[in-house]
Structure formats: C-alpha cells, structure tokens
C-alpha cells in the first residue's frame, strides 16, 4: 500500500516515562521547548477515598447513570463513585468500616445485555475503589429492584442478607468475611430485611406479623421467631419503608399510623401503634408517603416523617412537609418545609451561575415537586438529605431546625436511594 502523504500518522507518538511524576523524554530527536521551566502535572494518578468516612457522608444511587456517588454532605463534593451494571439498579453500596470495603450487588450477563446471567457481590477497596474480590451467588433470584430493605448488612459487618422474590420469597446469606455465599433461607410470606444485631434481622409478613431470623456463626439459619399479628395487610398495611431505632424498627401504615417492633426479645414484640396525625389532620388527608419516608435521629430521640395530603393510593407520592416527633413521648415537635429541588436540578442544565438572577427567577417560577426520600445523619450536628425520585438534586437541611442549608446538585437523574454509611 502506498503511503498517503499524511500530515501526521498517529496520536501519541512520543513515549514518555512517568516516574514519580516527572516526565522524561525517551527519544533521540530534539524536542520542542515546551515547558522546560514549568513543572508538568504528573500523569496517571488516581485519587483515593479517605479511610474514615465523616459523619455527613452520603451514598446516592442513580439508576440512569448506573452508579452510586459518595458525597461529602457538608461540601456537596463527590468523593468517589461505584458502578452498578444493571438497568433497574439504584441500591446504594454497603459499607464495612471495619474492613474498609464497599459491596455492590450486581447481575452480570455473559454478553452485554444478553446471555447467561450470574449474580455477584462485587467487593471494592474502600480507599482506592478498586475491585478487590467477587462473590458469586448460585441463586439467580435476586430481584434487582430499587426499594429500601432489599438487602441488609448485619451489625458486625460480616453477613449480608439479600431478599429474593421470584418465584418465591427467600433470603440469601453471604459471608463477607469469608467471601462466600452461605445459604438460602426460605421465608414464605415474609420479605425485606431489617437488621438489628450481628446475627438477627427482621422481615415483614403478609399475615400481619414480623419475623426475626437468627443466624448461627456460620450464617446458617438458627431460629425464626414471630410477633403476634399487629397490622392488617389489606385494610391498613404497613409500608416496608422502615426506619431503625436500635433494636426496634418503625413502620408507618398507609393511613399514617406508626408501628414499632422491638426485635431484641427472643420473641419479637410489636408495640401498640400510634397515629402520626390528629383527627383533624387525618380528615385533611395528611399521611406519610414516598420512597424513604421515615428517618430517625436516635441521639435526640427524633422521628422524621415525610408527609403529604392524599387519598388511598398516594402512599408513594412525594411529601411536601417533614414532621418531627419525639420518639419516646410521641409528641409532635416541629414541621419542616421540603425545599424546592427543581431550581437546583435545572441550574446546571441552563448553565446559570449560582444565585444569578436567572437562578432566582427559577426559584420563583418553578413549582415545588416535594421529595420522595429523607435520610438523617447520626451525629450530634445532624444533617437531613431530601431527594425527589425523578430529578437529580438533593436538598441539605439542618436536621435540628429544618433550615435549608444547601443543595447537592447533579447527584443523578433518576432516584434510587440514599444512605448514610
């Protein structure tokens, strides 16, 4: 083939070694005098995530970008991100502080979007975010949805429990220390997982009870204990979107009643339910709703509930207000407005400078869509993060008084979940 008389041949023709960040030319040829007196930035360096995650760190899952981003909630800075390969993902990674690892559950197909499916727990190093291991799951039943409580890491960070739904309800147990799948436990009629200790987690059942499943030290089933029936799964079902308070899990019903289940006793105990709303509020159709609609700040004994007005069938609608309650006295403490998240979503799309006139006009004009999810950090100066399921911006509130402090923009596009690791 004749040479084409090209003006150049290829990209990257000069090979340069990068040793301790300093470039050395390898060619005999006289180089152009580029940067002889300027220090070149070193090539090939990747950042790391700090070993100790701060109290305001937040995982945000996004289905469309197919990853979860780890944010510093104070600055809104991204610290790193981890891929999820599936199409309907949106579950945040699990975190082992002890081992310095993150865990992502992912189905992988042999050939792009097709071919044999195998499910894995992919293990990432907590600092480099490089893959340090994979655990293959023999079951092909993990249901790859994006609800809360589909998976749970038990308290000493050893066992990961995973909800299976199709064709039947069960739980897969994975030993993250030994890096192996342990067992599958059939849980007929009970589903979702609510950890309360290193070896115990609860599950909600269609007959209006909750079970506590105890594992032995190898991760195998040790015992199953069941509460008395405490809810009517047809007439006022409890939502599976619970919030944890120590060994108790709190669940709101579609009608705005709160159920508390204490999973510490050998036979778990459901306490008498109480109402989040007064008669008057109930008449005005106030109730809980959303995707992650309860949050607990244990130190201040505060329960947060995402509230909206709506009839039956509105239990996944976004909330317009956050009501706070004293966890012990059950008294209503405060009401926070959900901030409008649409301006923070659109500002980067429109390339408007923050707090520019255009940005302010957006804030005035655009409707407040509310939020589907709230999470609260566990420290003494807690932040609350609020998210709408369909727009990629997160509001940051002072969890003590509800002040809207800032927004985390471009946190994703399509909602998954949030988690404080």
């Amino acid at each position: 083939m004749r040479l084409l008389g090209a003006s150049f041949l290829a990209v990257g023709l000069i090979i340069v070694h990068c040793t301790t960040g300093f470039a050395q030319v390898e060619l005999q040829q006289a180089p152009v005098s580029v940067g002889a007196d300027v220090d070149p930035d070193p090539h090939g360096i990747s950042a790391t995530v700090r070993r100790e995650l701060g109290p305001h760190t937040l995982w945000v899952a996004d289905r469309l970008f197919r990853h979860s981003i780890l944010f510093d909630g104070d600055t809104g800075n991204a610290l790193g991100m981890l891929d999820t390969t599936w199409s309907l993902g949106g579950i945040t990674p699990h975190t082992s502080h002890k081992r310095g690892e993150f865990y992502v559950l992912e189905p992988i197909y042999a050939h792009g979007n097709r071919g044999k499916r195998t499910d894995y727990v992919t293990i990432y190093d907590g600092e480099t975010l490089e893959i340090s291991g994979e655990i293959e799951l023999p079951t092909l039943k993990e249901e790859t949805g994006h609800s809360v409580a589909l998976t749970g890491l038990l308290d000493d960070e050893r066992f990961l429990v995973i909800t299976n739904m199709i064709p039947a309800a069960s739980v897969s147990v994975v030993d993250l220390e030994a890096r192996r799948f342990v067992t599958e436990i059939e849980t007929a009629g009970c589903t979702q997982v609510y950890p309360v200790s290193p070896r115990r987690f609860g599950m909600l059942c269609g007959d209006g009870t909750m079970i506590a499943i105890d594992l032995d030290d190898t991760g195998k089933l040790a015992a199953i204990q069941r509460t008395a029936k405490f809810f009517d799964s047809v007439n006022d079902p409890v939502s599976g979107k619970g919030a944890r308070d120590g060994t108790r899990w709190l669940f709101a019903t579609f009608d705005g009643h709160l159920n508390e289940v204490d999973l510490e006793p050998n036979i778990p105990v459901a306490r008498a339910r109480w109402s989040l709303t007064t008669d008057r509020e109930r008449k005005a159709d106030w109730t809980t709703g959303g995707k992650q609609h309860l949050a607990v700040h244990a130190k201040s004994r505060t329960l947060y509930a995402l509230m909206h007005t709506g009839a039956r069938g509105s239990h996944k609608d976004p909330g317009s207000e956050i009501w706070t309650f004293d966890l012990d006295t059950r008294e209503r403490r405060d009401t926070f407005d959900v901030p409008s998240l649409l301006p923070a979503f659109l500002r980067p799309v429109l390339k408007l400078p923050a707090d520019s006139i255009g940005h302010k006009i957006l804030k005035l004009v655009l409707p407040n869509l509310g939020a589907h999810s709230i999470v609260v950090t566990a420290d003494d100066q807690p932040l609350m993060f609020v998210r709408h399921d369909e727009i990629g911006a997160i509001g940051v509130l002072d969890a003590h008084d509800g002040t809207h402090m800032s927004d985390i923009e471009e946190s994703g596009i399509s909602g998954g979940l949030m988690e404080v690791p």
């Binding site: 041949l9 990257g12 023709l13 940067g35 300027v38 090939g44 950042a47 995530v49 790193g80 991100m81």
Partner: protein, 182 residues
C-alpha cells in the same frame, strides 16, 4: 501553523520513516497494552531540572480560577465531565478509575502570568460516566483529522477500558505559541 503542530508533523513522519510504520505501531501497541504508567504524549519536553521547575499561578479570582467551573482557565478545550466534581481533581482521576495513556491537548492562557500553557486533557476511564459538571469548550479544538487536538474522540479507547468517566486538565508545559489558529 504553530511550531508545535509543525513539529508533530515532521517528527511523526520522521519516526515512521526511521522505524518503519509497522514496527512503530507494533511498539506503540505493545507499550499501550503493557503499562498504564507509560503515557503517550503528543509533545515532547526538555529534560527540565527539578530545580528550575515551577507551576503556573493558580490564585485567580472567580470561575476562571475555579477548577470545577467550565470557565477555569485550563478548561479552554475540554469536552466532558470535570473530574474535580467526580471524586478526583483537575490533575487526578477519581478513585477506581484509570487515566488514559493518550489524550488530546489544548493551549490555554493563564490570566495571571499571561502565558500560554499546553494542557493535556487526560480522560479517566473504567467507570460509568460521572454525570457532573459537564463542560464543552473548544478553543483551538480541531476536527478529527487533527486527532491530538480533537476532543470528540473517546480517548479511553487507549485505556484498558473504553468506559469514560471524566476528564482532567493537566499542564504539560509552556506553549511556544498560542492556540493554533492565532
């Protein structure tokens, strides 16, 4: 045509003649496959001594001095997500991603010293797109037939995974001339 561009042309022709195109490409390919520690630069630089080395001034007010703003002075020919918004910085890849061994360059003026710097926009590869701080500036950008000045090429194609996460903006050195059209 800038000196840089002319040099690229002549040096690449020269190299190809010297080595024979086949063997040259084979060597290049081998190097690329072999080690991420071997970046492929479209320019060469003198053996600068560390003693003389300095960095461009960065204490600039406003978005021109903010590495996470599209207006940042180094971003004059960037096209993609800024790594500083993705867990990395304008000089480092986010955790878990790999810097591409080959990439495009731009020539951007630092407003403090009024000097033109050659900027190397290394992509970070191996994770799904970052999705934050998208910027598209094209000062001195050129069509694909000028590949090392083209930002539409997926430069992650030279990395071990072509999956693109974000782009950095690293200084290689001072430019002898301004942007090629000037």
């Amino acid at each position: 045509m800038s000196l840089l561009d002319k040099w690229m042309e002549s040096s690449s022709r020269h190299m190809a003649r010297q080595m024979g195109r086949r063997s040259f490409l084979a060597k290049l390919g081998g190097l690329m496959a072999g080690a991420a520690a071997l970046p492929l630069l479209p320019v060469a630089r003198g053996r600068a001594s560390n003693a003389r080395a300095s960095a461009p001034p960065e204490d600039i007010d406003g978005p021109v001095g903010d590495p996470n703003a599209c207006e940042y002075w180094r971003n004059c020919a960037i096209d993609g997500f800024l790594c500083g918004c993705c867990g990395g910085s304008y000089k480092t890849c986010p955790p878990g991603t790999e810097m591409s061994p080959a990439s495009w360059i731009g020539t951007c003026r630092n407003p403090l010293d009024n000097k033109d710097y050659v900027i190397w926009y290394n992509d970070c590869c191996g994770s799904n797109p970052c999705g934050r701080c998208f910027c598209n500036r094209n000062e001195g950008e050129r069509p694909m037939y000028h590949p090392y000045r083209n930002n539409d090429i997926n430069w992650c194609a030279g990395a071990s995974s072509q999956i693109y996460n974000c782009s950095t903006a690293m200084v290689i050195g001072l430019a002898v001339e301004g942007q090629p059209e000037k």
